[in-house]
């Protein structure tokens, strides 16, 4: 029997990857590669490094599929989380940090740096965009700086001139608010994440 890749569940794909079934990895890449790379690109700000991160993510799935626990998260959530972690590692490395500060400075000089629009160049699902838009400014800024810029909450606090405790709370509350908004949306339009 051949696995029907187009209709196989993500969990079934991971099982097939466990058997070194390359077409299953290709299908996983087709489903989730775009999201993984878009996020990596957003965080590292470089096509070259985004490709590196994406490659790392899928080769890791290939080599260690048992690391994925379907009872804990969806496959996309898992892949994106690895990509984000890896991307943040890269941007926090000294050289990348320096380059980014320069880039960020250049963008600021050119008037392009706008914390409210940090995420807008992502091909983000409309409902996520709406949900982000609906957050109080402080929560949205904190989440965007932390997630898309790879900043620690301490750095975010410095950037926004807020106490660290406030930033911690805003990130947590913002994520919870986003979730409520997205779940409400999902209840209206059954969201297909595969």
């Amino acid at each position: 029997m051949r696995i029907d890749l187009a209709t196989a569940s993500d969990a079934a794909l991971v099982v097939a990857i466990g058997r070194y079934h390359e077409p299953a990895l290709a299908e996983t890449y087709r489903r989730h590669g775009g999201a993984v790379r878009a996020l990596a690109q957003r965080v590292v700000g470089s096509d070259f490094l985004a490709d590196e991160v994406t490659q790392d993510v899928f080769l890791r799935l290939w080599r260690e599929p048992e690391q994925y626990d379907a009872s804990r998260s969806g496959l996309r959530t898992y892949l994106v989380a690895i990509a984000h972690h890896r991307a943040v590692d890269l941007v926090r490395s000294e050289s990348a940090r320096t380059a980014r500060e320069q880039r960020s400075g250049a963008e600021r000089d050119a008037g392009e740096y706008d914390v409210e629009h940090l995420a807008w160049d992502l091909a983000m699902a409309e409902q996520v965009r709406v949900a982000l838009d609906g957050l109080p400014d402080g929560e949205r800024d904190a989440i965007q700086l932390a997630y898309f810029e790879g900043r620690t909450y301490r750095e975010v606090a410095t950037l926004l001139g807020e106490p660290e405790g406030t930033v911690k709370s805003r990130i947590r509350a913002g994520l919870q608010r986003l979730r409520r908004s997205l779940v409400a949306h999902r209840a209206d339009h059954t969201m297909d994440t595969t």
Binding site: S9, D51, A81, L122, A125, L175, L178
Partner: protein
């Protein structure tokens, strides 16, 4: 780090926005705190949604990944992460030629005895994915699975293995359909429905050890599982276990293969 401190940082942690030292402390707390585990999973799910969804991944990049996604040289056929465990099932290399001439039921008898008494504990972690795959497959995709099983039966290389309750039993309890690719199906004939707190669990038995092939659920009909395609197991057994499954059988098999596959 106490619960309140860790919980306050969970959002930042989910976004990788804490220092390495904090990350280690939070991870240690989360590992022991179901409440934080649940909240973290929710934050991560939201974070996952913040990635782009409408973009297509570049084809050239896939070519690069594919060129490196190779089977390591000399690597054994890797077992699926869910179904079998950390290492492939060893074939019974030392079975004597005379064994093959014995009537099938004596092999089954030996299997039952082996499975019931001497099954050694193996460090097999049955992941929740195992149950998930089994249950999702059994419930949501039941029709597709039944069709796939029918298709599998049509392939000449497909093997059918009858599972019987005892040596010489005239009726099969169930049947295994093992396709050459390793994809296989358990087909229930006579195993009765169990209470929800229990499950049937399928095992491969080799060298006196039982390795889980997956949970069949409390009311199995047709359940897919995967075996090592290059070296399929020769002996199968089914036991009744608690619903979460167990790492090694805790009861005598209610059915076992009548003939080596």
């Amino acid at each position: 780090m106490n619960h309140d401190e860790a919980a306050a940082l969970l959002g930042a942690y989910a976004l990788d926005a804490v220092s390495e030292e904090e990350a280690a402390l939070i991870a240690a707390h989360v590992a022991e705190c179901p409440r934080c585990t649940a909240e973290l999973a929710e934050h991560r799910e939201v974070a996952g949604m913040l990635s782009g969804t409408g973009v297509e991944a570049p084809r050239e990049l896939w070519e690069r990944i594919a060129s490196q996604a190779t089977r390591p040289e000399g690597a054994p056929d890797r077992v699926p992460p869910v179904a079998i465990g950390p290492r492939p099932i060893e074939p019974e290399r030392h079975r004597r030629a005379s064994d093959r001439r014995r009537p099938a039921w004596t092999v089954a008898g030996a299997v039952l005895a082996v499975a019931a008494v001497t099954i050694a504990l193996m460090a097999v972690q049955i992941s929740d994915l195992n149950a998930r795959v089994g249950h999702i497959a059994a419930m949501d995709q039941q029709r597709g699975i039944a069709l796939a099983e029918q298709a599998a039966l049509l392939q000449p290389s497909t093997k059918r293995v009858l599972l019987v309750s005892a040596p010489g039993a005239s009726h099969a309890q169930g049947e295994l359909v093992v396709v050459r690719s390793g994809v296989s199906f358990f087909v229930n004939d006579r195993l009765a429905a169990l209470p929800a707190s229990k499950t049937y669990q399928l095992w491969a038995v080799a060298g006196g050890k039982a390795v889980s092939l997956g949970l069949l659920g409390a009311r199995p009909t047709v359940v897919p599982f995967v075996v090592n395609a290059l070296r399929p197991p020769t002996i199968f057994a089914v036991t009744v276990e608690r619903a979460q499954g167990v790492v090694s059988p805790t009861s005598s098999p209610v059915a076992a293969s009548a003939t080596p596959a």
